[in-house]
């Protein structure tokens, strides 16, 4: 282009670096805080460089002890979050694969009604119907259970829609050919459809894992038993100490650990993540 490319490029890089710093700054400060003692953080001069208590702080959050930790071990909370994330991701994928298959490849009465029943859940996020959903789960005796944590969240329609869109792009000859070769519906699903949707399912898995791990309101409502706490709500519990001083040297390492798995998934499976993100919104 006609302008001085050098200057434009330089400004672009400067602005991008500013953006990167803006995004990284809270994490850096959280990391710094996780390496100082509580007294150092409360003394008034704010540290910007890591201290020498990093290992001690992490040891304390893993081993517990002291008045500053919850009555539940950190590993237990991480495990609960993992169960929730995997349960929601696999559960949603399983029921969506089946439902989308039925809606696209079969013709039966009330097909459109089923389609709209699933569609309408897009308009009912947990946040707007928390109280009645809580009552249903309580009536079923699912409070403080892994089923209660995962099952009510696996039915949203986004995954079903993504797969339906994908199935509709497949060439009709595929089904014809399979039929000519004598494949029934089950055979077609397992031998042709699923292998073809492998990358779509993987992309979906990345998005759903993040969604499941980051759930907050729902575990907050239905778990009163500490042994079912997830790590994300555990962080909030550490903050809710009433009039006592918040133990920031405990809160910050816990916060970093709570965000590590989903952030790691995004960074490691970046290509799938971007594919999933753009397709779930189509």
């Amino acid at each position: 282009m006609v302008e001085n490319r050098r200057a434009v490029t330089l400004i672009s890089h400067l602005i991008l670096w500013f953006g990167v710093l803006l995004v990284l700054f809270p994490i850096w400060i959280a990391f710094v805080a996780s390496s100082h003692s509580s007294e150092a953080l409360l003394s008034g001069t704010v540290p910007l460089w890591p201290g020498d208590r990093l290992l001690l702080n992490y040891r304390q959050i893993f081993l517990g002890g002291g008045q500053s930790t919850l009555g539940v071990p950190l590993l237990r909370m991480l495990f609960n979050s993992l169960v929730m994330a995997l349960g929601i991701a696999f559960g949603k994928i399983l029921i969506s694969v089946l439902a989308a298959y039925a809606v696209v490849f079969f013709r039966f009465r009330l097909r459109m009604l089923c389609f709209w029943l699933i569609f309408v859940t897009l308009m009912l996020p947990v946040e707007v119907r928390i109280l009645p959903t809580f009552q249903v789960v309580a009536d079923l005796g699912l409070l403080n259970s892994y089923t209660g944590l995962t099952l009510p969240l696996i039915a949203s329609a986004t995954a079903t829609f993504l797969l339906r869109q994908f199935y509709l792009t497949l060439p009709p000859e595929l089904l014809e050919a399979a039929r000519v070769d004598g494949a029934g519906p089950i055979r077609f699903l397992f031998d042709i459809l699923l292998p073809l949707s492998r990358t779509n399912l993987a992309a979906l898995f990345v998005i759903l894992f993040i969604y499941g791990w980051n759930q907050y309101l729902w575990p907050l409502l239905i778990t009163t038993d500490e042994s079912y706490y997830t790590i994300v709500m555990g962080v909030q519990r550490l903050l809710a100490v009433g009039d006592n001083e918040v133990q920031w040297n405990i809160v910050m390492p816990t916060t970093l650990l709570a965000m590590l798995p989903p952030v790691g998934v995004v960074l490691i499976m970046q290509r799938l993540f971007i594919k999933g993100l753009i397709e779930t919104e189509k």
Partner: protein
Amino acid sequence: MSHTTLPVFRQRGLPWLLLLPQLTVTLLFFIWPAGQAVWQSFWMEDAFGLSTEFVGFDNYRQLLTDPAYYRSLWTTLIFSAGVTLLSMGLSLLLAAMADQVVRGARFYRNLLIWPYAVAPAIAGVLWLFLFHPTVGVLAYLLDCLGIDWNHFLRGDQALLLVVIAAAWKQISYNFLFFLAGLQAIPASLHEAAAIDGAGPLRRFYSITFPLLSPTTFFLLVVNLVYAFFDTFGIIHAVTQGGPGDTTTTLVYKVYRDGFIGLDLGGSAAQSVLLMLLVGALTVVQFRFIERKVQY
């Protein structure tokens, strides 16, 4: 839906079997509770929770004449507008720059996309720590500049804090979509305009921005939905809706009135109004998507 060209299987029972899991969960945890919310919104419980009485539209009437509800609505609008503008503005700037640079675009993208994976509540805690009146780095910095920061006491500062935390988390999402939109604009248009003597800013306003408008509109709806419904964690972890009710958004109010205030009917009526709102937003979103397909 009319894909008559696609050949189909003719089995009768099998599709129902395939649909059974999704339909069961949908009916049990979505349709039934939503129906319950509508039902409960017409009933009122007495102060002791001993008896309920059918009150027709009284819950709605009470809600729509309650100044607190309008305060919450106003808070929600300010909050959503703030989050959307801040996050989309920053993302557009960064995406435009990343589209410009020849080297390192991938590197920047990698460093910018991961906040998407941070839970809203966690994003809230990170920013709470930065702005904490006694330990926060930024609160300290503001203090040096003569600004007295205490979001535990000042409502406007509390609102600003949750806006910043919510916008920060959304930057990566907007950045990815803006970047994809920008990269879809043919470079020849820019080159032609440059030859005609248009500078970079002029090119941005006259070419990039109009061609980006489908993406912008799509992101506008997504960001509004995000600010309305997905930010509960930020507000609950950072301000608990306070001080007073200065950061009580509509979604937080449903929770507060229902679980803490134990006002079942009032909370249910709020749920129903919110469902209508999501419904409207979803329709807008789908209308737009239909248009995008023709684009």
